[in-house]
Amino acid sequence: MILIKIFFFPGLLFLMTYALYLQWFDRKVYARMQNRVGPPLFQPVADFLKLLSKQTIVPSSVQEQGMFWILPLISFAAVATSFLFIPVTASGPFYSFPGDLIIVAYLLTLPTLVLALAGWISTTSYSIIGGIRCLSQLFSYEVPFFIALLVPAIAVNSWNIATIATHLPHLVATHPLYMIPLALAFFSGLIALQGKLERKPFDIPDAETELVAGPFTEYSGRLFALFRITLDMEMVVGISLLSAIFLGGANPLMGIPGFVMFLIKTLFVAFLLAAIKSATARIRIDQLISFGWKILAPVSIVALLLQITMINL
Amino acid sequence: MVKKIDIASNQIREHFSGWIKTGELKLLSTISGYQEEGNIFIVYHCVNNEGAVDVRTSVPLAQPVLPSIVPVLPAATLYEREVQDLLGVRFEGHPDPRRLVLPEDFPDNVYPLRKDYVVNKEK
């Protein structure tokens, strides 16, 4: 029974299919906003299978061959485990314990570090610069993301995602004033998630017009497929985390309608991310860091302070 | 219509530095060269305040050497090197006299735009 939960429903298989679906959804919305037709439904699956069948080439100049192989697996595992703590159906996540919000936030940072390491190991100038950019980008969005996660935690006064998801809507109903800090936190969390997933305004590491593919340049075949699916799964985890703690996940309804509610909310958040992606140009690394610290961090701190004062009132 | 001026090959640099000092030269569009029985003509196409001017000078085919005007006017860097590649005119004092147009493995002192260089046009 447990194995089924881990590998099938709220676990790996559902995560991967939903990741591929969200990738399609994101590309379709992005295309329609640009007045284009967009990819057919099975395009992501086709890409994934095609990459799996391609030959995996490891450049000779790479000294640590073993590390080169393991890195994609590490980030894949990190993202897969983090999904187990997210409440997909109203009956709660697969496993939850009081501090799982912190665990998920930590596991979501791991892939970025792994990506920077991958860029460093593959020794070509493009991937080194890509790796360096990955790291320097990490500092600018990590702090606002954590603070944004704290605001609902403080409102509900617990670190457990499931309890936040269930109690937040009642709380907001009773104290409408909480809407302001929560809205601010949701906004900065959304922008920070866009940075974490390295999407359009912040896709500086793998800016294809400059660095070909940044850290991914030397990866090919199965390894590259693994990295790509990890990025999509990270998007699913990030979006469902945000929709769980801010929009209440699946809680008002039980059973199947609860699950459908979860889907609707995550698709709504995905739509927002795709809109941001199509509305902005890629900014430079120094602008990103100044944006992160001058605008994003203050907004989330203000939200936090507001939330704290409101609790004590 | 374009005004035409003929100048001896050794006064080219003084002529252009004079023009630049008086601020008369607005733009050096390009330098083109052509071969006419036994000597190579170099034409400097310029735009002055009152209109377009072609300054022409010629060097004998046997001894194609010309003072370069790059020290006075950096814009001519490329144009001189192109004439040097295709017609074999040596520009003295050019800071960077390397090949501009032809690939590295093109044979030396073979100049494509000279009349003696025949291209076989296969049908």
Binding site: V29, A31, R32, Q34, N35, R36, V37, G38, S278, A279 | -
Partner: protein, 118 residues
């Protein structure tokens, strides 16, 4: 001055509109009358003056005498640049530009089209 959101109007408008792409094999754009497709040859009008052969920039046309006052014309469509100069140079109107543009072929020889007088 910087005012964010200038692009949003366009995004939402696009999102509600039908995509601008024309899905080629199924839907086709209608061609303007002046469109220059491949050249066509009318043997009855040709008097064999070879003006078109002389003027063709790509040497893509060949006129051979088949019998008295009747000529056959070969178009090397692989070389033709569809400029319409042959149609212009021919003052007997023997060559006209058609609207046929789907000329992809698998073999080089099949790109050579010889029009014989009937």
């Amino acid at each position: 001055m910087i005012k964010p959101g200038a692009i949003w109007k366009e995004l939402l408008k696009n999102f509600s509109r039908k995509p601008a792409t024309v899905l080629y094999p199924k839907e086709r754009l209608n061609l303007p009358p002046n469109f220059r497709g491949r050249p066509m040859y009318d043997a009855s009008k040709c008097i064999g003056c070879m003006l078109c052969v002389k003027d063709c920039p790509a040497q893509a046309i060949q006129i051979e005498k088949v019998a008295e006052k009747s000529y056959q014309c070969t178009f090397y469509l692989g070389r033709c640049i569809f400029c319409g100069q042959c149609a212009d140079s021919c003052n007997k109107g023997a060559i006209t530009m058609s609207q046929v543009y789907e000329l992809a072929a698998f073999t080089q020889p099949s790109m050579t089209d010889t029009v014989k007088p009937v």
